[in-house]
Symmetry: C2
Subunit: 359 residues, 2 copies
Amino acid sequence: MSNTTHESQTFSAESYFETQPQPPSLVADTEGVHEFIQRQQQANRSVVLVTSGGTTVPLELNVVRFLDNFSAGTRGATSAEYFLKAGYAVIFLHRQFSLQPFSRHYSHSTNPFLNFLEIDAALPSSSTIDSAFPYSNDPPPTTPTPQITVTTAERAKLFSVLRAYKAVHALGTLHMVSFVTVNEYLWLLRAVSREMSVLGRKAMYYLAAAVSDFFLPQQRLSEHKIQSGKGNLSIEMDQVPKILKPLVSEWNPEGFIVSFKLETDEMILIPKAQQALERYGHQVVIGNDLHHRKHRVVLISPVAADATKKLDGALVSQPKYAEFWIEIDSHQPSNHPKEIEEDIIEELLKRHNVWIEGS
Amino acid sequence: MSNTTHESQTFSAESYFETQPQPPSLVADTEGVHEFIQRQQQANRSVVLVTSGGTTVPLELNVVRFLDNFSAGTRGATSAEYFLKAGYAVIFLHRQFSLQPFSRHYSHSTNPFLNFLEIDAALPSSSTIDSAFPYSNDPPPTTPTPQITVTTAERAKLFSVLRAYKAVHALGTLHMVSFVTVNEYLWLLRAVSREMSVLGRKAMYYLAAAVSDFFLPQQRLSEHKIQSGKGNLSIEMDQVPKILKPLVSEWNPEGFIVSFKLETDEMILIPKAQQALERYGHQVVIGNDLHHRKHRVVLISPVAADATKKLDGALVSQPKYAEFWIEIDSHQPSNHPKEIEEDIIEELLKRHNVWIEGS
């Protein structure tokens, strides 16, 4: 595998949206976001856009194969809960089927909810196992159905998750929007950002999604499944335009924007983060290393340009960027683990308040 | 994007396993399968290996990006339930986080289980919403916890799913093994197939997983995240060896083997399926078109070579391959939908019985 420059064009944000297809659901999704933001404005709430999960890059128009970015959506789903807890309204722009707030506590694989539900009914013996199956043309089970209860071991945890879940739904402070492809993500990010601009400084962006740096322009996609048996596969991808630039400078200049930088080589984390702030001029980059991201992150932010201080009478110019490390014990009790997102959100809320007052 | 032949080697199954790394969990996974098969032999059950979900092809050793194959795992998870209903023991070799038997009925996105759980407790007002959140250092809710019940609307369905789920777990006829990468899949398929060979003709293979045709040899992986901003990305992939060949001819010659062929162009479905039977000499190829796969499939199988018949006194040789179409109404009632997998499994069980008697 190599990085080469081939003949195809490089895309600016403008040329991207001019040449790549608008998703069919964009108009309806945008209307939903518009109404949600109106309701939150009337309630005088701050609104945060949380993006979460990985984007796909289809290799075929009838998609069988695609490039993906590693992300279960844990950071975004967990963070969304702490924003909600703090009274923020959350637009959760997430990869379809990635982890979601609240239900994330009950992954089908690691903690399947069927395991802690109990019924008061004799289990069928092996000879009659098919009678246990409800599917197809079997009649539905005779009513009254026995009550289903939650095992005492799980009830306290489920109760508190369920309580928070229902509280949020009663308040209407969580709005779900989903994407699959990087193209859907880019169109949605622009549309949602423009809607959020009416919130001015009360709009926050928490861009935790793992967005592909590369994509295949619609015009170069093969219509049908690529056939194997014709030798090896060669894929040439173009760069995805740097979307933070128009977000900061055009779509919502007043927004408080937090982006993420994930690296597998911790050495280049800080330089890459500073480079991003230099280039886009937003407020915070959260740097995290793939292997330590659950218990250590660093917040990089610009220091006010004019900020200087006297030291022993000499004028000493401060560094241009400040590092703020957040770390928790990597060994957490399984029954009540501390989540690093709690501390991340707490720090960001402080800074967002300063940002709002600074207007 | 194009299919080109570049300089790199092409892999046979042998050279693949000689050069690509064995997954660390393979030994433990194989032991688990070994014990499961022993138990099923004592119970004189037929055993089916159901593979399900898509395989990934990592582009980096520290995986940030990967190639994937489109598959939620619906076919495999649904089919596994019907095999279990018929009294088969099922080894469910699935992509981590893809759909699973039973829990598939409660996708977090389309049918989140939190929606049909009820608690007898007043919801916190917006002023006290943070008190509804259980996270971090808040004390766990005071006992006794209110009971949690299932809404009457959902109870009958959940009851029957839960009943089947518990019956299967009581019987111990479902064994879960998961993979993520195509490399893990290939190593597991070989190990499980060898273990299943002791079952002779009572072993069935239902290979519904969406396996990548291409991969990147370990030796060509870049260690760290590929950096963008260095022009466009070019990926050259090698072909995955045709694993059905050794499966049929070496690992378990007596097994009843059903493979799948997914195409987006229905025109080439039958020829591709016949080509696969021609090449590997197994029992059934299930052909399905991406857009109609939930309500129309075709079973292609070889016709006994010697089978000929008299027609008006003339000897007429039959076609080499038989097509058996299965189709259901594409509009199903949402409360009690017919699933095409029920008819697929019913037909396959008939054929497997003939296969067993044919020994």
